[in-house]
Amino acid sequence: MATPEDNHYAKSHEYVHLEGDIATIGITEYAQKELGDVVFVELPQVGSVLEAADELGSIESVKAVSELFSPMTGEVVEINEALADNPALINTDPYGDGWMIRMRVSDATEVDELMTAEEYDEYIEKESGH
């Protein structure tokens, strides 16, 4: 799967899709593959305010748990309720139905700190050592 060009990417493998001041956040295709079958996601409550790099929640596979970090600063305005019953959406469609939270960002220019699709592809190339 090609890494979508209209997103921005964090080193901790979250992506940001920004429309206006609303950022949709999830984890990347690479991250979901590394994790394997996702069985549970813990997300923040709507209304919580997160700073960039704050812990956003956690994601669990059968035998591993990883922390999620917020790539941006802002207020959580929506969480993906469908993940509670069907966390597999993160495996099947990480950039679409497997999104995790929507956030009203306080400073849209923070995306400039993140990687482009091309930079992220290079980054994971290096990280996986292939």
Partner: protein, 492 residues
């Protein structure tokens, strides 16, 4: 046929609840004998429940059949090699079971007056003396009922001792090869964890330790030998570094089986150690427990031992001593897992000093024999000499897309329980093999032959390995489904 009926048909053995039929009974109680009173007069109706809905109704025959059939779905150490690394699955002598069932032990009550349980107290006292000699340490508490419970006990004592001297400190150092219980126990004792990186031998460099031991460090928790089976040869120097900074050396004694009777923790500068009696001292694992995790301590930690301690008077009688004002307190109700302790002492006496030493010698011989036979067929990520266990990886098999999990599952088709897998975490795709001293050479050879056959299969017929097991009561399970929509109890 409904979907539910289909499921029942394919189940190996129905749940006991599914065997239930109205009107069956599996018990008979003695007659009430006393005149029956109106229940309302004894216990108001508002405090009483109606019937226990959905509880079973089965006969004794149903129960015997059910559990006998269930038992046949398990493998066990009595049936053959069970080489779970770090778990020390050794022979469980039956004399231990017989002695634990002696009515004078089994029917003794934990809150009886001391003069009524002198036999029990003498047994506990004797076990402490025995463990003191094995550890080379001056006192041992028998209260902890598991390894992790012992860890918590030990680190609480360290915390209390340091608090008494004015500063409990903040961190416990733990190597990256450690059991998960170590950081968890340290956290529940009130500490933060700092992880130490292992070197290329899988051990901890003195310079790494030296740099890490700041004034904020309370203790190092280290497994000796470590989870690769490698002995920390510089253990005494490590103790010196810690002691110079006022910190303690905690030893996770899970691997005591490799050096019991050969060397003693107390002589290595270790301040506190727990020993899993269900590992080194043969009390049965029982499908996950019970265990016991006595903790030995050096002189400076004695005031902080849990209460009560068992003491001997000059007249030869025994008593429980609660008068330790600096004690961390009680770790559990009553007197620990007493009847696990009975089994362990029976075993220590059956072995004697010569047998205890032979345990370590033969456990190490067996593990090194496996290592020698398999090292051409499996990757040895750390080639430092190892004692009672050997850790391989799946590196030679992964090019064929065969992984540790597949190798483990395939072993079941050869009739063996797999080794511990994916641990220690510092080895990618770890296969951690601990045969113990209980295995005869023929069994070790059969196991090595099976492992070698799987190594060949991995090259020639990888799909066969990837789809294993093929001969077990059930095949690979959908573990993601179990975790995504947890079904944790039967419902009608």
């Amino acid at each position: 046929m409904t979907e539910e009926q289909t499921q029942q048909k394919t189940a190996l053995e129905p749940l006991i609840f599914e065997r239930s039929k109205s009107g069956r009974r599996g018990y008979q109680l003695p007659d009430l004998e006393v005149p029956e009173q109106d229940l309302d007069a004894i216990l108001p109706a508002g405090l009483r429940r109606s019937e226990i809905q959905d509880e079973v109704e089965v006969s004794e025959v149903d129960v015997i059949r059910h559990f006998t059939r269930l038992s046949k779905l398990n493998v066990s150490i009595d049936a053959g090699l069970y080489p779970l690394g770090s778990c020390t699955m050794k022979h469980n002598p039956r004399i231990n079971e017989e002695i634990a069932r002696t009515p004078g032990f089994a029917q003794s009550h934990p809150l009886q007056a001391e003069h009524q349980v002198q036999g029990n107290l003498e047994l506990l006292w004797t076990l402490e003396q025995t463990l003191k000699e094995i550890f080379g340490l001056p006192r041992v508490t028998l209260q902890p009922v598991a390894g992790a419970h012992g860890e918590l006990t030990g680190i609480l004592m360290v915390h209390k001792a340091l608090s008494k001297s004015g500063n409990a400190r903040k961190y416990i150092l733990i190597p990256d090869s450690a059991h998960g219980t170590n950081p968890a126990s340290a956290a529940f004792a009130g500490y933060e964890i700092r992880e130490l990186k292992s070197n290329s031998r899988g051990t901890v460099d003195l310079s790494t330790l030296e740099a890490a031991v700041t004034e904020d460090v309370a203790a190092l928790m280290i497994t000796v030998p470590n989870t690769l089976g490698v002995f920390e040869s510089e253990i005494k120097a490590m103790a010196d570094i810690l002691h110079a900074k006022g910190a303690y050396l905690y030893c996770d004694g899970a691997n005591l089986n490799s050096f019991v009777g050969i060397a003693r923790p107390g002589d290595m500068g270790i301040d506190v150690i727990h020993s899993n009696l269900h590992k080194t001292f043969s009390t049965p694992h029982g499908g996950g427990g019970p265990g016991a995790g006595p903790v030995g301590v050096s002189e400076s930690l004695i005031p902080y031992l849990p209460t009560p301690t068992v003491e001997k008077r000059e007249d030869g009688t025994f008593y429980l001593d609660y008068s330790h004002p600096d004690s961390i307190g009680r770790m559990r109700a009553f007197n620990g897992n007493f009847n696990v302790l009975v089994r362990a002492l029976t075993y220590m006496r059956s072995m004697g000093p010569t047998g205890l030493r032979r345990i370590a010698q033969m456990a190490v011989l067996n593990a090194n024999y496996i290592r020698a036979r398999l090292k051409k067929h499996y990757h040895l990520p750390y080639d430092a000499p190892s004692l009672h266990e050997v850790v391989f990886s799946d590196k030679l098999q992964t090019p064929k897309d065969v992984h540790t999990l597949d190798i483990a599952k395939r072993l079941m088709d050869f009739g063996f329980h797999p080794p511990t897998i994916y641990f220690p975490l510092i080895v990618s795709g770890a296969l951690m093999i601990e045969p113990t001293e209980s295995e005869p050479k023929e069994e070790l050879d059969a196991f090595c032959d099976a492992m070698i056959a799987i190594a060949h299969e991995s090259q020639e017929r990888p799909e066969l390995v990837r789809s294993a097991p093929h001969t077990t009561p059930v095949r690979r399970l959908d573990e993601a489904r179990a975790a995504r929509q947890p079904v944790l109890r039967w419902k009608p």
